[in-house]
């Protein structure tokens, strides 16, 4: 007798399927950022699948929640999730980074496929989110603005200008989520430009801070639900994640921050993820 798959198991399986798409896209393009795409895909997926108030058939619906991928180099994760939800045709995914593709190496604003704003020049997304949150307050909308930040990206001074403004204007409709995978392009965040004590920094800037294990999707869901209940201040969810998550040789290393897998590496990676899917389905 077949056991019904729980919602959690369904989500985990879909995330692993999406990770296979991410790897295929980057492998075919022979350029891109696997490490930071595999780390934050859980966050993007859960937001789109479970939590955001959106309508993929009407991407410009005026009361929609707004999503901004400030760490735009995780574009493959973003595109793959958008495809899973219905914004992008799956076959289009594999045109990533190729001439004439709608899917450039970093996200480009495209209302038809639900991309609100171009990103990838780091350190800009939170300011844009501040503007969206102020606009929503002015128009008395009840939506939320979600901004995914890389941890390396927090080196940018503009992030902290935005952090100041968000608490100054009491933007409780703004939720920032930090992909705290601990590794940036040149190495560990603490070696390159130390961020710790990171939670204290955000607290000092007037933010509510929620720390979660971002590999645990129940914690993501609960963390974001909790953040929506906070009033009169913005919330940051520091999400501890694993760079290159679920591909053994990509985990915890900067080596695959901005480097694609070769054919052998790609095959090994897909094999590893398939095993995890089979294990999940067999449980």
């Amino acid at each position: 007798m077949e056991t019904p798959i729980s919602e959690e198991k369904e989500f985990l399986t879909e995330i692993l399927e999406i990770k296979k798409d991410i790897l295929k896209m980057i492998w075919l393009a022979q350029s891109g950022h696997p490490g930071g795409s595999l780390s934050c895909v859980n966050l993007i997926y859960i937001l789109y699948k479970k939590l955001m108030n959106i309508d993929f058939k009407n991407p410009n619906w005026k009361n929609r929640d707004i999503f901004i991928l400030s760490k735009g180099h995780a574009a493959p994760a973003y595109y793959a999730v958008l495809s899973k939800i219905g914004y992008i045709k799956r076959e289009d995914l594999f045109s990533l980074r190729k001439f004439g593709s709608i899917l450039q190496g970093h996200p480009v604003k495209n209302e038809k496929i639900g991309i609100e704003i171009s990103t990838g020049a780091l350190g800009m997304g939170l300011s844009i989110g501040v503007g969206c949150a102020l606009a929503s307050k002015l128009k008395e909308k009840n939506n939320h603005i979600y901004v995914i930040l890389g941890d390396g990206e927090l080196n940018e001074g503009a992030i902290w200008e935005a952090a100041m403004a968000a608490s100054h204007y009491k933007l409780d409709n703004l939720i920032a989520i930090v992909d705290r995978n601990g590794i940036q392009s040149d190495g560990s965040t603490e070696e390159i430009m130390a961020l710790e004590p990171l939670a204290d920094k955000w607290k000092a800037f007037g933010w509510e801070v929620i720390e979660i294990d971002g590999s645990n999707i129940i914690e993501i869901i609960n963390g974001i639900k909790k953040s929506k209940e906070i009033i009169r201040k913005p919330t940051v969810i520091i999400s501890y994640l694993i760079k290159g998550s679920d591909v053994s040789f990509m985990e915890h290393t900067q080596k695959y921050h901005g480097r694609p897998p070769n054919k052998d590496e790609y095959d090994i990676a897909i094999n590893e993820i398939d095993k995890q899917i089979n294990k999940l389905l067999g449980e």
């Binding site: 300011s127 503007g131 969206c132 002015l138 935005a162 403004a165």
Partner: protein
Amino acid sequence: MSEIPMRDIFGNFLVENAENYKNMVVLNSDLSLSTKTDIFAQKYPKRFFNFGIAEQNMVGAAMGFAISGIIPIVSGFSLFTTGRAWDFIRLACHDNLNIKIITTHGGLVGGDGSTHSALEDLSLMSSLPNMKIIIPADNIELIEVLKYTLNIEGPFYIRLPRGVFQKIHKPNYKFHPDKIDIIKDGNDICIIGIGYGSNLAYQSVLNLERKFDISIKIINLSSIKPIHIENFISEIKQHKGLIIIEEHNIYCGIGSIIARIVSEIYPKPIRILGIKDDFGQSGRRDVLLNYFGINNVNIENKIKEILNISK
């Protein structure tokens, strides 16, 4: 009667048009008193946002407003807004967002000196695709340009001076970017003014016409980008040479842009009066303009060069 400073006209315009443009908000970076947006702030506090001394975040927030269907007026000093926040402005232009950057203290600023002079802003802004750049030359044109800017979608940069430009337009003047704004007709030399340059040409030209027994056309080139090239070229065909006057570094300035267009399509002698690769300095505005050679003496010298007059 002396003119009202352009920044006051700007501030008053925002208040007077707040009800006509209900989806307009005003953003500032701790310079509302200097940019005269403070009167809007007092009257419409819910639609005014001070971001403190943080130009990058101000422009980033403007982008957020724009994608939410609200028109942000981004105000500040010309240098700091365009310079500090350039990367953000680039992204706003990349996405063709409806943001209106309207700055004061363009060009030479007087006592504040070289660190505050904006002599590079037009190069920074003109290299951005989608950006529309307008420099009004007097208060009549300023009001026309502000109306135009609010009614047309897309990113705009409007550069205002700290002080006053004397009136050169008739009260019934209408701005249109495709129409070449002829301040005065003439057949021998054409002076192309940008901002104060048009003012200076207007003040100087009658004496020069008498002195050399020539007639001089003055074009006020307020729409720096786009320039309607066909209309522009048709206005300069008959002249022996062009003199361009800009309150900006001549490296990558508007003179360079016009020189490229003219040399490609209808080559003829060109002289450019502007700041020769300098940051400016402190001083009274008239003293600075003379020091940098943006004056009637130099217009005369350039006319002599073009007409091959030796003394």
